[in-house]
């Protein structure tokens, strides 16, 4: 496979402008002759579907939820970055570009990231015009807050529900186009295959989740805006339905999958309370501004706390280990996400974790309350403390909070070129579903920015270039053999899943996969563990296909069947993640290989050998995937080593 990034020539700041001029246009009168399929209606999908419909294309938008408004973008809390420099504090497009490249540990493309920073300013304008109620100053101008990984205040927010408000803005634009008849919505419909003919994406095969009916949809282009694959770990901050199926099935039809092992672990989540746990809830990172992270120094004390024989408040100051402050005196509790997460894991691995499960550390506000008073702390974090109490039943003003890291975001995804086109012509990937902008680690408040940048301001330009090239006649009807074959294959797989009639519910197998991934391919990895993981995943795959138990039939609402079909893909993806992690003999961003660390225990990059995108190419069922490398070239930034001592 030849990977052409198609990054335009010229100075960094002019690349996007040059590209926009170079891209072919579709005549306004001809746009109505093109059909575009958009899968997923989160920030990327909804914004793309709405914007393309506004241009005049016919859009079909699909989501597995009952409404486009429920896509998991809705759960993003913190904010969205934009290089507006409204605060006059030295921000600029270049600075946002630089922070993002550096935050990603130099594993993202300069061209893409600079474009992201450029269009970030338009996103805010667009959202405000839609009626998104961003936070304001008393005078009526927009307010900003600061966020990790940046020294300027450039994050726009709507209370703790920024993702919700941005998604509802995009959803409203989408709804307007539905009313205009330019978008047809397909809620409760899941994409189960991509149809490719003559090397081009031609459409998709879907399952109507209410009736179970398998249907085909044909289009001139297909846009996958299907989010990330964090649920491969079973427990994550993702929604229960978030899945990799659309992307994975496209991958099996020829779309390269890039950097699958790059996952982000968020340090401040509410810990697991029992084996029945289905989901992890994130608590804002801002808590680390005032909370002190600690665990008992002695394993014996930790065990007493785990058994409920001792309260954390009974433990003397001298018996506590404020491990982040101890190891990183300069940054203390404010070290970046990956560092904080890893250290919590180490402490728990040593048996010093707290909570019933031993998988938690304390985030203690006692000192802050003593210093600033409970009122001040309440004003800053009141709603977070309330949320914590709702979930755990413990009052964090009296007892220290318990936290543990959780999977939050996946930087990897379908490989795309500068135009967001995957390695299959006519197939695009937007938002978290692609790999392009965050490198090995994503900065806070950048996911929303990327989803909307792709949907509002990139794809409306780039998709036209492809459409103008192929012409309106280059489309295949849904009764063509290639669609029928795909439908049959999908139906066969569903029937196969149901006919196994084994012993184990899907959830149990999914949990097992999650355990393997978390244990061996989570916060820190090593070659030996990854080898074990590979074997375990292969065994699990066999077990799944011979022993899964799904009640109900194929032609009805069947949630276990939906989950089974997703888990089947997660298992395969899991193996690829392990392969990718094994291949990358370096540590960078969210990928920490224990063999590659500085003497201080920090991530040690190997820029000479691994400054590339690992794009994996499917070779057939149960065959090792082929690694393609897209070498990353850095002309505008100097690669440096992170240090937080």
């Amino acid at each position: 496979m030849k990977l052409e990034s198609k990054i335009p020539e010229g100075p960094l700041a002019e690349k996007w402008a040059r590209q926009k001029f170079a891209l072919k246009l579709v005549n306004p009168a001809n746009k109505r002759k093109y059909d575009i399929i958009v899968v997923g209606t989160g920030l990327a999908g909804a914004s793309a579907a709405a914007s393309l419909a506004e241009l005049g294309y016919n859009v079909k938008a699909f989501c597995f939820q009952d409404s486009p408004r429920r896509a998991h973008s809705i759960a993003a809390q913190g904010g969205i970055n934009a290089a507006k420099n409204y605060q006059n504090d030295g921000d600029s497009v270049f600075r946002l570009f630089y922070d993002t490249i550096k935050g990603g540990d130099y594993r993202a493309r300069e061209g893409n990231v600079h474009r992201l920073a450029e269009v970030s300013v338009n996103i805010i304008d667009q959202c405000v015009a839609q009626g998104v109620p961003f936070a304001r100053e008393y005078g009526g101008t927009l307010a900003n807050r600061s966020f990790g990984g940046a020294q300027v205040s450039r994050t726009f927010y709507a209370r703790g529900q920024t993702g919700q408000q941005l998604l509802l803005g995009a959803y409203s634009a989408l709804s307007r186009q539905v009313a205009n008849g330019k978008v047809k919505l397909y809620p409760r419909t899941e994409m189960l295959d991509l149809v490719v003919q003559d090397g081009k994406a031609r459409g998709i095969v879907t399952r109507n989740l209410i009736t179970g009916k398998i249907e085909s949809h044909s289009g001139h282009a297909v846009l996958l805006c299907t989010g990330g694959y964090g649920n491969v770990f079973y427990l994550s901050t993702n929604a229960m339905g978030s899945n990799v199926t659309a992307a994975w099935r496209a991958h099996k039809k020829g779309a390269a999958f890039a950097n699958p092992c790059f996952t982000q672990i968020h340090p401040t989540c509410i810990p697991v309370s029992g084996h029945y746990q289905s989901k992890l809830t994130l608590m804002s990172e801002s808590l680390r501004n005032d909370g002190r992270v600690w665990a008992p120094k002695a394993k014996e004390d930790a065990e007493k706390i785990q058994k409920g024989q001792m309260k954390p408040t009974d433990l003397a100051e001298a018996d506590r280990d404020y491990f982040l402050e101890r190891k990183y005196p300069a940054f203390g509790n404010l070290v970046p996400r990956d560092v904080a997460s890893r250290n919590a894991k180490y402490v728990c691995d040593e048996g010093r974790g707290v909570s019933k499960t031993g998988l938690a550390v304390y985030l203690d506000f006692a000192d802050a309350i003593k210093r600033d008073g409970q009122k001040t702390i309440e004003a800053k974090y009141g709603n977070l403390f309330e949320m914590y109490e709702k979930i755990t039943g413990e009052n964090p003003y009296e007892l220290p909070m318990m936290i543990y890291p959780a999977v939050h975001y996946t930087m990897g995804g379908l490989w795309v070129d500068y135009n967001l086109m995957t390695s299959i012509p006519g197939l695009y990937a937007l938002g978290e579903a692609n790999f392009s902008d965050h490198g090995a680690n994503r900065l806070g408040a950048s996911a929303l920015m990327q989803g909307l940048a792709d949907g509002y301001f990139v794809i409306p330009y780039t998709v036209g270039d492809y459409l103008a090239t192929i012409g309106p006649a280059d489309k295949i009807p849904v009764d063509a053999p290639v669609f029928k074959e795909a439908e049959e294959k999908v139906t066969a797989q569903i029937n196969q899943l149901i006919s196994i009639k084994g012993e184990r519910p899907v959830d149990e197998l999914h949990k097992e996969l999650g355990h393997i991934m978390w244990e061996y391919c989570g916060m820190s990895r090593n070659a030996e563990g990854l080898q074990i993981a590979k074997q375990k995943i292969q065994a699990l795959k066999k077990e799944f296909w011979s022993n899964v138990k799904i009640m109900g039939g194929p032609e009805e609402m069947n949630q276990a069947l939906e989950q089974a079909s997703r888990v089947a893909d997660f298992i395969e993806l899991g193996e690829l993640m392990v392969d990718d992690a094994l291949n990358r003999d370096e540590s960078c961003g969210g990928h920490f290989r224990e063999e590659y660390q500085t003497p201080d225990g920090e991530a040690l990059r190997d820029d000479a050998n691994y400054a590339y995108v690992a794009a994996w190419e499917f070779q057939g069922e149960n065959k090792p995937e082929l690694l393609n490398k897209e070498v990353l070239e850095f002309e505008n930034v100097k690669l440096t080593q992170r240090s937080y001592k």
């Binding site: 759960a75 507006k84 304008d125 009526g140 408000q165 509802l168 409203s172 029992g274 289905s278 009640m551």
Partner: protein, 252 residues
């Protein structure tokens, strides 16, 4: 703890349903209500029975998908919370819990506890937006919005579209949902241009979906997971009356 459940089971939208009793013996009080249902479904599957179908997704109180009528209340006994945010410690050992789907003509049951809420989408499609195309926006700070207005708009915009307001209302009225969107866009300068048409069209759509009228019992606001205020319903009334009396649309 031990929990007795009476759960509404209905094979499909046309089938007749009934409450079916289940017993769970090992419920932890730290479980969320939906995790308790996961445990139930796990045991049903192992026994070879159909698991209970219910809507859920984010499980952190923001997507608006979960929708259970628990012991006579939308989203259960806790206020200001969705079903997924409810935990078993809100119940006692040996309790019997009755779980039903949202009941409304506009929300037909799909299966078991899952209902069809696309009526809400159609209401939004009828006018719940600002007509602005991508790319045509002025600089964000050219529209000054006083903080109090932005805050009030945000209060309304916090709606998660779960439908608890409809479920809790004795008339199955959607006024709180519809008013939250109309109110948000009516007080923001961006939404002013089309505020009259918006009110007319969204109310007409709301009525045609078969939601009831507002009796101002206040149940919607109490059961709303985001505690959206009845102020917005008053504003909707004002917007609608003002629109009907002043637009030049004589066809109705």
């Amino acid at each position: 703890m031990k929990i007795n459940l009476k759960v509404w089971r209905q094979k499909s939208s046309n089938a007749t349903g009934k409450l079916v009793e289940y017993q769970l013996d090992n419920v932890s009080e730290d479980m969320s209500f939906l995790e308790m249902f996961d445990v139930l479904n796990d045991s049903l599957t192992r026994k070879g029975e159909d698991p209970v179908t219910f809507d859920h997704d984010c499980r952190e109180g923001i997507c608006g998908m979960c929708s259970m009528y628990i012991n006579g209340r939308a989203h259960g006994p806790q206020t200001g919370a969705t079903t997924c945010q409810l935990h078993m410690r809100s119940f006692n050992d040996g309790d019997t819990i009755v779980v039903e789907p949202w009941r409304a003509r506009a929300f037909p049951v799909i299966k078991d506890l899952m209902v069809d809420r696309t009526a809400f989408d159609r209401v939004i499609q009828s006018g719940g937006y600002v007509s602005v195309n991508t790319g045509s926006a002025p600089d964000a700070n050219e529209i000054l919005i006083p903080r109090s207005i932005a805050d009030e708009a945000m209060d309304a915009a916090a709606c998660i579209g779960c439908g608890a307001c409809v479920a809790a209302c004795k008339n199955a009225s959607a006024m709180l949902f519809v008013s939250a969107k109309i109110s948000q866009l009516a007080i923001l300068p961006q939404g002013k241009a089309e505020h009259k048409e918006r009110a007319e069209r969204m109310v007409a759509q709301m009525d045609s979906e078969g939601f009831g009228a507002c009796s101002f019992t206040g149940a919607c606001s109490v059961e709303c997971p985001k505690s959206i205020s009845l102020d917005h319903i008053a504003r909707l009334n004002r917007e609608y009356l003002g629109a009907q009396l002043t637009t030049e649309n004589v066809q109705g």
